[in-house]
Symmetry: C2
Subunit: 393 residues, 2 copies
């Protein structure tokens, strides 16, 4: 039997064919007009992707490198910061802050929940010296989302407090109006919605963040955004760029443009997420984030009496599909299915039907096709009219 | 929304990633030891794929070229031949025979049926001078299969009558024991079960076919199998081979070997076909070949009151999936879904669920998920036990 290897993990996500093709091209030299032109096209595309006219910088590193770059540039040692911790990745903001000598105040929510914006407002009222609020847009360990628009409403009225958003897995999966909402720094990773391999991080930086960056006192060299801003204005990076990844980035951004922009990508992830939640409900798999669920991925508890690890293993061994298990305190307890990136409806419908087969194998009782019926109904709710005939992406 | 372009056509079929990778490699020269070694590996793999120790030759042409090569070598002008015609491709055998000046006797079956072996036996009894029986293993225009084992039982007892099988889309999708059954010539195309691009045809040739070929009088140059046999014994082809396609062929044959051989490929297609027939039955789509159905593809009538062309169009425009329409007298009347090639269960489950969505859009009434429930049950009938954990292909 054929079992195609399929990644349904919230990063890495499947590479778009245009990306594969671009990555396979002969290498260019980066100190050339040809490459500078590619670099500049990427910046234009990223601004459109992030809906901002602020600077967007590209770094050759993983998403965590992008998070570190953001924090180490906008804060100085001893600064007070608030980290919203509602899962594994929230803890990362706190960890980076501590590593750089910040005074970290943690606002916690249970895993699966989100920290309410009002709680952040209260913390900032209580301590006006807080220099930055650090938060995940999509908390990949639980599938929960933070309300970035509401948080930005709070921080943008406070001149001394920046909002720094890890949108590594959230951007391109859920609506994000970087400039209109007034988010100061957004961090994105390449191996998520943009269907690229890991290796690039993207940062948008607001004018007031730049003021802070210019006077920052934390140690930084590779991640010195001042240096990058200067170089990248001319289509170069301060240090050697990940050349093939940049060529592929341009291809990926062309794909997004071709399908009607980031809104179309967001609608796609939202539709797949809705189908998945509906099927899960019909099959008796509870959401890990029943109130705060986002669309970048769906985290699910197994049905009572079924081991989540057995589901993950069986999807892989019988169908070749890799879904993610739990992390941190949810390790071995849940499964996570990605929607961000290069997935289409047929992908998720196939996965959900194979999930029915696996659940039956594992002794779970339900009517065959019940999850599929729910998923198809959810699809019609999201897409009531057949789309125009043009096939894209 | 993302709509991945997916081919569910009975050729070309999706290319295997190992094939894509091989096709992207720099070109080799064909008059080198390196290429000769690749060529010889391909022949070994093809013999295993076709289950024969007879000669297997590779030609740089499409499947039709392989059919012409077979006929023009084993018959001489004026020879009597029988063509089994049960669809579009059966007519091709008759057409090639006429083009080469043969006396063609047509044994017809209604489209969707197969010609019964007893009818062939009667024809051969009536005219012992018939030199060859030409037949499709899988008739791609209707999804019907001919009973090659039974036909070979008839021809192998008749020294003057060869059995020449167009297994272009049948090999690798349904069990074919070339040597054990005693099939004289089998023709296969690359863009089918082997998940390669079009451009190669493969012919197995029995000892008694070689006798005929040696003394044949039909004009032949590019397709002269005597010349090819001599060259290919040394790992070369008489004329320039399709070099990259051959490198990819080796990769494809390695994939088949790695998944446990052609039987595993056949089981795969058989499972997907069973799921498709079950779903179609539950959704009210009648089989075009209700008695003679094969596993290489499934041809379906639309439900009453629904236009098949509208289904084909909607699957493409809403989901990016291309299924085939009808050919010849069934043009505009049916849809055809391929199972041969690089498809897995998740592919077909995804397609069937998207078919439910499309049928609902077109006004067909049924219970959501009914087709999926039937498909999942059919899967369990075929694969009652979970397979071992090793993920292949």
């Amino acid at each position: 039997m054929i079992r195609k290897p399929r990644l349904f993990t919230p990063g890495p996500t499947p590479l778009h064919p245009a990306v594969l093709e671009a990555m396979a091209r002969p290498i260019l030299h980066h100190r050339t007009d040809e490459f500078r032109s590619i670099f500049k096209e990427c910046i234009v595309g990223l601004k459109s992707f992030l809906k901002t006219q602020d600077d967007v910088l590209v770094l050759a590193c993983s998403g965590t490198g992008g998070m570190e770059a953001a924090l180490a540039n906008v804060l100085s040692p001893g600064d007070r910061m608030v980290a919203l911790v509602a899962g594994n990745f929230g803890e990362r903001w706190a960890g980076i802050g501590k590593a750089y000598g910040m005074e970290v105040q943690i606002l916690k929510a249970a895993w699966g929940d989100a920290v309410p914006p009002e709680e952040v407002a209260r913390a900032l009222d209580a301590d006006p010296a807080i220099k930055g609020v650090f938060v995940q847009f999509s908390e990949s360990s639980t599938g929960a989302r933070h309300d970035i628009e509401a948080l930005a409403r709070i921080t943008r009225e406070r001149p001394g407090t920046l909002l720094v958003v890890d949108a590594i897995s959230g951007a391109g999966a859920m609506a994000l109006e970087t400039k209109a909402w007034g988010v100061d720094v957004v961090v994105v990773g390449s191996q998520k919605s943009l269907a690229l391999p890991p290796g690039l991080a993207f940062l948008s930086v607001s004018a007031r963040a730049w003021e802070r960056i210019e006077s920052g006192k934390a140690p930084r060299f590779y991640f010195d955004l001042r240096r990058e801003r200067k170089a990248q204005a001319g289509g170069e990076s301060a240090f050697t760029p990940a050349i093939s990844n940049m060529v592929a980035l341009r291809a990926a951004l062309e794909v997004v443009k071709g399908m009607g922009g980031v809104d179309s990508l967001v609608k796609n992830a939202g539709t797949l997420a809705a189908c998945t939640r509906a099927a899960a409900g019909a099959l008796g798999l509870a959401l890990v984030a029943p109130r705060a669920y986002g669309d970048a991925l769906t985290a699910l508890h197994p049905p009572p009496g079924v081991d989540s690890g057995a589901i993950v293993k069986a999807l892989k061994s019988e169908f070749g599909s890799t879904v993610a298990g739990g992390q941190g305190e949810l390790k071995g307890k849940i499964l996570r299915v990605a929607h961000l990136g290069y997935y289409d409806t047929t992908d998720i419908l196939g996965l959900l039907s194979s999930l029915e087969i696996v659940l039956h194998r594992l002794g779970h009782e339900f009517d065959f096709g019940a999850g599929m019926a729910a998923a198809e109904r959810a699809y019609f709710e999201r897409i009531p009219e057949a789309p125009p005939a043009k096939v894209s992406a």
